[in-house]
């Protein structure tokens, strides 16, 4: 045949159930382990190190602390911070306390306390080991500063999406896609159909 009029191949595994579709869009899962502090990480490394060493603990704990100072949310009042992170789970901004001691001016803000850190093995992505600090949520769970994953505890091992480590909490202005944002309102699309009919009509046609 001179001129074939059909595709050489097509994506056959599609039109899936919701599961199929979502799994296609799910990020890769990586090994992760979280610790309330550096000591418990070092202890775990000494006991049964599977993919991290004591040195990894130290390096990543330091990185997580730095990350925490750079990206954890800052609030203008302790009340506001406690609303988001729970009573007794907030403190002053350590960077500002430092500045104040050095005679710097500026307002005072509040941050959720650093309550642990999480390490992830990104070896399969050619990465090495990455970390994220953990803070608490208002309902007592644990989350990275970006808030895109929350966990019941700050100790334990499991699989988490690699995005937990690759997508850091970002500043809120001019956010690129796929970084976390503060959503004020939902459901503004899909409500006012020109068809004004109820039921499960297709939006397409």
């Amino acid at each position: 045949m001179s001129q074939r009029k059909r595709s050489r191949h097509v994506a056959l595994v599609l039109a899936g159930t919701a599961l199929l579709g979502l799994s296609a869009c799910r990020e890769e899962q990586v090994d992760a382990e979280s610790f309330p502090d550096l000591q418990s990480c070092v202890a775990a490394a000494q006991k049964n190190s599977l993919w991290f060493t004591e040195d990894d603990c130290r390096a990543n704990f330091a990185a997580a602390e730095k990350e925490y100072l750079e990206t954890a949310p800052r609030y203008e009042s302790k009340e506001l911070c406690e609303q988001e992170h729970g009573v007794g789970k907030c403190g002053g901004d350590p960077t500002q306390q430092q500045q104040a001691q050095n005679g710097g001016g500026g307002g005072f803000s509040f941050m959720p306390l650093l309550v642990g850190y999480m390490m992830g093995s990104m070896l399969s992505r050619g990465g090495g080991i990455f970390s994220q600090p953990m803070v608490q949520t208002a309902n007592g769970r644990y989350t990275t500063p970006s808030g895109n994953q929350s966990f019941a505890s700050n100790r334990g091992a499991g699989k988490v999406p690699s995005q937990v480590f690759t997508s850091k909490a970002a500043p809120t202005i001019g956010k690129p896609p796929l970084t976390q944002s503060a959503v004020q309102q939902r459901g503004g699309f899909g409500g006012s159909s020109t068809a004004r009919s109820s039921g499960s009509r297709s939006f397409g046609g």
Partner: protein, 408 residues
């Protein structure tokens, strides 16, 4: 063009299930029906469908260029005034179109006639691009069809190429639809897979889960800002929803682009007829408000269309359809034929919108079924065909999908 009875693939239902084609049967009737197929000659496909559809799309682009600067047309097309600049900017910035589907009446002889253009949210993409393709491959494998048969179906490859043309590598694209509607969902998934193959990031999000951030950007149901949004949701609704005031300021790139609001509107049919009167692939069409008194015989056509109406009057009297400018799946369509009682689609949920009148191009009949040809556009080219048929004269949402092939 012929309809040919063929043995079904013995395991196609299992195959459909395995591939997640969950709506192969709907409402107790088959939706996918391969007990027969339509066959075409290459000449019919190329001369009567592919080339004319590509030309129709070029004419549609001319119609957009005309309407976008015309207060009169934007008003007639019911584009809310506050969004005129939003549409105009998307057109002048050259925002590219992704896909669309012409619905054509064609019987294998004479020019195909444009019934309407689903330029914004066409569905049945999965069936056309993927399951139909598989049907041909497997029927050839089983020896039911000769290995030299072909199919007009470059849809998937064309989509992959189009994504690469219109978006930078690695662009994160959100796909929004009503996830609970399997047809819409399958269409969006087919698009998402083609985008991934083109090197894009594809993320599904429920349409109703889209949120608005404090910076007036849109975010998905996981709070991630949406940079590029494919929406299987019509522009006429987007422009009227609660979030409509944020469309222009959101910094989101929309696919289809906002100017498609002009084409996803049956008001373009009178516009095309005004710009290209007598074109062989067009049917005479008018806004009902301009001609209904004249058609009833108790008034005159509006002065601006009087001459065009006079030229088409006898054709319209033989038969015409009326349809709302916004309508899906045959809703609100009424068919008038000389000497017969009007036939109407029972669903009148769009009928409060302005109506258009279009000359009737009766669908051909094959074994008691009337096929409508869906000519798929990707970018500015016609790249494939999907056929749906029904016993009723007005094709609707439960009409069957029929595979086709090109004779060896």
């Amino acid at each position: 063009m012929q309809k040919i009875a063929l043995p079904e693939r013995p395991d196609w239902r299992a195959r459909a299930e395995e591939l997640g084609f969950t709506f192969a049967d709907m409402g107790g009737e088959p939706y996918w029906d391969e007990t027969s197929a339509y066959s075409f000659t290459l000449q019919e496909i190329e001369q009567d469908i592919e080339i004319p559809s590509t030309e129709l799309h070029a004419m549609c682009r001319e119609a957009v260029a005309r309407a976008i600067d015309s207060e009169d047309w934007l008003t007639r097309l019911a584009i809310p005034r506050e969004h005129w600049d939003f549409l105009r900017d998307s057109w002048t910035n050259g925002e590219p179109e992704l896909y669309g589907r012409f619905d054509l009446a064609y019987d294998g002889s004479g020019p195909a006639k444009l019934l309407e253009y689903n330029a914004d949210t066409p569905t049945s993409l999965y069936e056309s691009a993927s399951f139909q393709w598989l049907w041909l491959e497997e029927q050839q494998g089983l020896g039911v069809l000769s290995p030299d048969t072909d199919q007009f179906n470059r849809i998937h490859e064309a989509l992959v190429e189009r994504w690469a043309e219109i978006a930078d590598q690695g662009t994160e694209i959100h796909f929004a639809c009503d996830k609970d509607n399997p047809e819409d969902y399958a269409t969006v998934e087919a698009l998402g897979w083609s985008a991934r193959e083109a090197g894009m990031g594809a993320h599904l999000t429920a349409l109703a889960g889209i949120g608005l951030t404090e910076d007036d950007q849109f975010a998905d149901d996981e709070d991630r800002v949406i940079g590029t949004l494919f929406k299987l949701y019509p522009w006429e609704d987007m422009l009227r929803d609660d979030f409509a005031p944020f469309l222009a300021v959101s910094q989101t790139r929309f696919i289809e682009p906002p100017w498609k609001a002009i084409l996803s509107n049956k008001g373009i049919l009178p516009l095309l007829w005004e710009m290209f009167p007598g074109h062989p692939n067009l049917l005479p069409a008018f806004f009902a408000a301009d001609v209904e008194a004249a058609l009833r015989g108790d008034g005159a056509a509006a002065p601006a269309v009087a001459a065009a109406f006079a030229a088409a009057e006898s054709q319209l009297r033989r038969g015409h359809v009326t349809k709302p400018i916004f309508s899906r799946e045959g809703s609100g369509v009424t068919l008038y034929q000389q000497g017969a009682r009007p036939e109407t689609n029972a669903d009148d949920s769009y009928s409060h919108h302005p109506m258009i009148v279009q000359a009737l191009a009766p669908l051909p009949e094959f074994d008691g079924f009337r096929p409508v040809l869906g000519a798929w556009m990707v970018g500015e080219s016609c790249v494939g065909l999907g056929i749906r048929e029904d016993r009723a004269r007005i094709t609707h949402n439960l009409s069957r999908f029929k595979p086709h092939f090109i004779e060896a």
